[in-house]
């Protein structure tokens, strides 16, 4: 090997370097294979791929975001994930954790892009502001859009981490002052894997990368470009409180007896029925819990525009332009009342104006 950069190394080699033994490695293969939805019969393929395929060069860009995706990732339950699979400290470029800074860092990114043209995987965290020529997010004197376009041009595939890169998250919420735009609306003609969530689950992030490594192609995606293995089912369909929903047992307020009994949080605005994610299956922090298990409804953080569908604690969102707390039901009921009033008014006036006509006909019919 002519250089010591780890792009040429395999996950297995990297793992050995970090002091993991064979047993740890195989356990990791089994665990991540299961998490990624790979059949147990294909486990050999996972092991083979992680042993033999060099880890692809990775460039991790940060734009308008809070770094919670990175945070989630390094808190992964399995140490191999953060240590090796997406070795954040030895990524070719990642603002948050790289050792290099300034010109040095920019040069490192340029070099990787040139050296591994068409091979590197671009990981994007954060949305890209497009208003005012993109001045709302500039790195190294260039706008986020310029950086993204340049980096995406020769990328093999793009992974859009988190809701920001998938749909703009909170900074794209109305009125979206910076024109925050997700990756999929700016980059065309490249395979884009959206891994939304605020943040996404660490195990899901690792699973997506392992899938790429194992099969050399992007996983099966849903209509919104999310891997079906993790975003194919709704929180609601995998929720352990689902039986309460079907039985019509709902929490009415957060401090009632029903909440204590663990009833369904549907009426508390839980977005589980409209949210596609793996939270109820994979759970968080090494399978410890997930929001609903902790008594709080899902806020739908893996769905587009979830901030604009608020308040998060009521079932129906507020409707813009109809004042505070105007939901579909309130507007609909008001319209129905207005319609009935209109009909009643019509009834009165019609009887007045058509009175003669009807009287004439009544007379005529007597002949």
């Amino acid at each position: 090997m002519d250089n010591k950069t780890n792009q040429k190394q395999t996950i297995w080699e990297l793992a050995q370097e970090k002091g993991y033994n064979r047993r740890d490695f195989l356990k990791f293969c089994g665990w991540i294979g299961a998490a990624a939805g790979i059949a147990s019969t294909q486990l050999g393929r996972v092991v083979y791929a992680l042993e033999n395929n060099p880890r692809p060069p990775l460039i991790w860009l940060h734009f308008q975001e809070c770094t919670c995706c990175s945070e989630s990732f390094i808190k992964s339950d399995h140490p191999l994930v953060a240590d090796v699979v997406l070795d954040l400290v030895s990524l070719d470029y990642t603002e948050t954790l790289q050792a290099a800074s300034g010109h040095q860092a920019e040069t490192a990114m340029k070099q990787t892009m040139e050296k591994y043209k068409g091979e590197y995987i671009l990981l994007v965290e954060g949305s890209i502001p497009t208003k005012d020529d993109g001045i709302h997010c500039c790195i190294g004197g260039r706008s986020a859009l310029q950086i993204l376009e340049e980096a995406a041009k020769d990328a093999k595939a793009i992974i859009a981490w988190g809701n920001c890169a998938f749909a703009g998250c909170v900074q794209a919420a109305k009125p979206n002052p910076t024109g925050a735009t997700p990756v999929r609306k700016l980059v065309h003609g490249k395979p884009i894997i959206n891994v939304p969530g605020c943040p996404p689950i660490a195990d899901v992030m690792a699973g997506v990368v392992v899938h790429l490594l194992t099969f050399g192609r992007i996983p099966e995606l849903d209509a919104q470009g999310r891997p079906k293995a993790f975003y194919g089912r709704r929180i609601h369909d995998t929720c352990y409180r689902r039986a309460n929903y079907d039985a019509g047992l709902f929490v009415e307020t957060f401090d009632d007896a029903n909440a204590k009994k663990g009833y369904c949080l549907y009426k508390m605005g839980c977005r589980g029925p409209v949210t596609y994610n793996a939270c109820a299956v994979t759970k968080w922090n090494g399978g410890v819990s997930f929001p609903i298990q902790s008594g709080h409804g899902c806020i739908g953080c893996s769905e587009a525009d979830f901030w604009d569908q608020g308040p998060l604690y009521q079932h129906l969102p507020e409707t813009a332009g109809f004042g505070i707390e105007a939901t579909a039901d309130k507007i609909g009921a008001a319209a129905a009342v207005a319609t009935v009033a209109g009909v009643a008014a019509h009834f009165v006036t019609a009887n007045l104006t058509k009175h003669g006509e009807i009287q004439d006909r009544v007379k005529g019919s007597k002949e």
């Binding site: 039985a247 019509g248 047992l249 525009d305 569908q309 079932h315 579909a328 507007i331 129905a336 009909v343």
Partner: protein, 225 residues
């Protein structure tokens, strides 16, 4: 004094009448169950979850009725090709000058209660036809969003064929909200529809109200003694 003769005309064939009543029943059922699904009542119960299923049943009724509603609509569209001239689909579009004039007249007569020449069309009047066209389109929207939302938990071909709809609208939450909003259109429609039918029956005396039961309407024969 010139008396008028009324001649009965068989306007609504049996398939049209069946469609009407099935459609009406479906809309009532869908609105009622839909409202319950959107805002379930707070029923306190000491039962365990496995002992009850009422909410699941309400949802089942909503989805089951949705299938009936959909196929009933398809059946009506089919009849729009083979039925009599009052059932034809072309009748729903204000496509001719005559129909547009009639449209204006109906608005003047019925809503503004101004003077206009009496509307004498036998099938739907131009205004009613246009309203039903809108009703059909809104129904399609409800079918598309409803089955699109159902596709996440159903393996049926019908719902799978609408799986792209929520994604297009920006996610299930947006689709659900639009579906919920649009449901109110049917409530408003029902109020106005029932009232106007009664009103026409009363003012015109041509049997509009009973026509959807028996199929017969009456037209004035000019020159009768």
């Amino acid at each position: 004094m010139g008396s008028t003769l009324m001649k009965p005309v068989y306007v609504w064939e049996i398939p049209v009448r069946i469609f009407h009543w099935v459609n009406a029943a479906c809309i009532v059922a869908l609105c009622a169950t839909g409202y319950l699904i959107g805002d379930p009542p707070a029923l306190m119960s000491s039962q365990e979850a496995y002992q009850g299923y009422w909410f699941g049943t309400v949802r089942f009724l909503h989805f089951g009725t949705a299938y009936l509603f959909t196929f009933n609509l398809i059946y009506r569209i089919f009849w729009g090709f083979v039925g009599n001239k009052y059932a034809r689909l072309a009748g729903f579009f204000p496509s001719t000058k005559e129909k547009l004039d009639e449209l204006v007249c109906v608005v003047k007569l019925d809503i503004l209660q101004m003077v206009c020449k009496p509307v004498e069309s036998i099938g739907h009047n131009a205004m009613a036809a246009l309203t039903y066209l809108v009703l059909f389109l809104v129904s399609f929207f409800q079918i598309a969003t409803g089955f699109g939302l159902l596709s996440a938990m159903s393996g049926s071909v019908l719902s799978a064929s609408f799986a792209w709809v929520p994604a297009l609208l920006g996610g299930d939450m947006a689709a659900r909200n639009l579906h919920h909003f649009t449901a109110w259109f049917f409530v408003l429609f029902a109020v106005v529809h029932v009232y106007l039918v009664c009103y026409h029956d009363y003012v015109e005396g041509r049997g509009v109200l009973s026509s959807i039961v028996g199929g017969w309407k009456f037209i004035v024969v000019k020159g009768g003694k």
